[in-house]
């Protein structure tokens, strides 16, 4: 009997079913935890307490919010395009979840390793924008449409910067496979040689996930809530989960591309090989957690950009910088050959 169960588990593991279930469950579990951490950290940075009521120090706040959203009514505005209105949250959440299929969490734990993984993630995360645009369009509301238009413009501008900033690590690794890129960083992370690329990626990833200080598509003070203003209940929760899943996704991407994935730090020194005793999955999640903390840190610190400032930063600063970074990287690589 136990042998049969073991065989079953082995079969599921070999066909990636088990990994999919674990990654899916973990990503969904991250959302309530992350919302609690966000409110707590930002509260403390602003000398407030943050949530304190649900559970000790409000730790169950995310779950309480989730239950509330589950029980709420799903309202469809009378002027809305119903089919697209229902489709939009799904189209927003699904790409955010399936992009995790190529992220290597450890050398033994990844769902799949395809040779164009980076292109795949970039392509999939662009599809997520359609969810936002369709949500804004089908809501038949001024605020939602304005939020969606801003989001479209923002993502087009910053998708370029994100793509170009990733070219540097790709040139250094010589592969598009995520596992290959991580393995290329076993000794030296790409953080130091690609510090400019990392900076561009960090700024662009804040913009890509519509987070502060680039949260123009959902600017509360101007657009009420932006593209999801007409959504309620579980459909709103889908957008919410998608936003946090995207945060985790871009943080994981940054970890793989610049921070060495599952590799421990300082591996160029013989002494630091002790750090390999810690499982790689802890290193990976430690780095992701730090980047997620940076999201909150930046949100608590900086005010929102104006729309023209956002566009100027994207097109006139980040993209030229990224192109220059590619040029310098190419020259240095050619000279070292």
């Amino acid at each position: 009997m136990t042998a049969q169960v073991l065989d079953m588990v082995k079969f599921l593991w070999a066909h990636s079913v088990l990994q999919i279930v674990i990654v899916f469950a973990c990503t969904l579990m991250m959302v309530p935890i992350l919302t609690w951490v966000e409110r707590k950290v930002i509260g403390h940075m602003q000398v407030r307490l943050g949530p304190m009521r649900v559970g000790p120090h409000g730790i169950l706040q995310g779950i309480a919010d989730g239950v509330k959203l589950l029980l709420k009514e799903n309202i469809v505005p009378s002027g809305a395009d119903k089919r697209i209105f229902v489709l939009a949250p799904i189209l927003s959440l699904v790409p955010a979840m399936i992009a995790f299929s190529v992220i290597p969490f450890d050398h033994w734990f990844y769902i799949t390793d395809i040779n164009i993984a980076v292109l795949y993630v970039l392509a999939i995360s662009s599809v997520g924008t359609y969810g936002i645009i369709l949500a804004g369009w089908s809501s038949n509301s001024k605020y939602a449409l304005l939020g969606a238009l801003r989001s479209a413009a923002q993502v087009i501008s910053y998708e370029l910067a994100i793509g170009l900033s990733l070219v540097g690590p790709l040139m250094m690794a010589g592969t598009l496979s995520m596992v290959g890129i991580t393995k290329a960083q076993a000794e030296h992370w790409f953080l130091l040689p690609q510090i400019v690329g990392f900076f561009i990626y960090f700024v662009a990833m804040l913009a890509e996930t519509n987070r502060s200080p680039f949260d123009l598509p959902e600017a509360e003070t101007e657009l009420v809530a932006g593209f999801h203003v007409e959504y309620s209940g579980m459909r709103f929760a889908f957008f919410f989960i998608a936003e946090y899943a995207n945060m985790v996704l871009v943080s994981s991407m940054a970890t793989v591309m610049f921070l060495g994935g599952w590799n421990p730090p300082f591996q160029m020194f013989e002494v630091m090989h002790v750090l390999q005793k810690v499982p790689g999955i802890f290193w990976f999640f430690g780095k992701v957690a730090f980047l997620l903390f940076c999201f909150l840190w930046v949100r608590a610190t900086f005010p929102r950009f104006r729309y023209d400032q956002l566009m100027r930063l994207g097109w006139k600063v980040l993209i030229p910088m990224a192109l220059g970074n590619i040029l310098v990287t190419g020259i240095v690589l050619a000279l070292l050959k």
């Binding site: 940075m45 000398v47 304190m52 840190w297 900086f302």
Partner: protein
């Protein structure tokens, strides 16, 4: 170095951005180490803020040591009240004395000036420091009857000007 060059260096090195991050970051670290000194929020129903010494809140009715009302029903408080918020109901007792049968304060009319307290010859009515005026019965919230006033008057720590009483 020219001013423009300094400005350029500031912009390129993002000094100001990192200064801002350092501020919020240091507040966060301090809030983890010593939360009580850093975080200023009071969790209200558990931790109540004491009222200021001269705060004039809910009225209270005082009793004599034998438990009878100090109030003799003279009606000066009702007369002096600029908002006409006080009503005193009196009747003739067995020995032809004045008996207070009802006392009512309209909390919507009251402006908490404290004239009633100053005018009272028997120090029977006082303004306490009680500021939580909510009630489950909506009528009891704004028509304060005698029972309620006596009940509030028994909470001695809430009195203002304890010395003068």
């Amino acid at each position: 170095m020219s001013n423009a060059f300094k400005k350029f260096i500031r912009a390129v090195t993002l000094v100001d951005l990192f200064k801002g991050l350092a501020l919020t970051g240091s507040v966060w670290v301090r809030s983890i180490i010593t939360p009580r000194q850093v975080l200023v929020t009071r969790p209200y129903p558990e931790v109540k803020r004491p009222a200021f010494p001269n705060f004039k809140g809910h009225h209270g009715f005082l009793l004599n040591e034998d438990g009878s009302l100090k109030c003799v029903g003279c009606g000066i408080c009702a007369g002096v009240c600029p908002a006409k918020a006080i009503r005193v109901y009196t009747e003739e007792g067995k020995d032809h004395e004045k008996v207070v049968v009802g006392y009512e304060i309209d909390a919507f009319r009251c402006i908490y000036c404290g004239f009633c307290q100053e005018a009272c010859p028997k120090d029977a009515i006082v303004l306490t420091r009680l500021y939580e005026l909510a009630d489950y019965d909506n009528r009891a919230c704004y028509r304060w009857k005698m029972d309620r006033l006596v009940e509030v008057g028994k909470k001695r720590p809430l009195f203002r000007d304890e010395v003068n009483l």
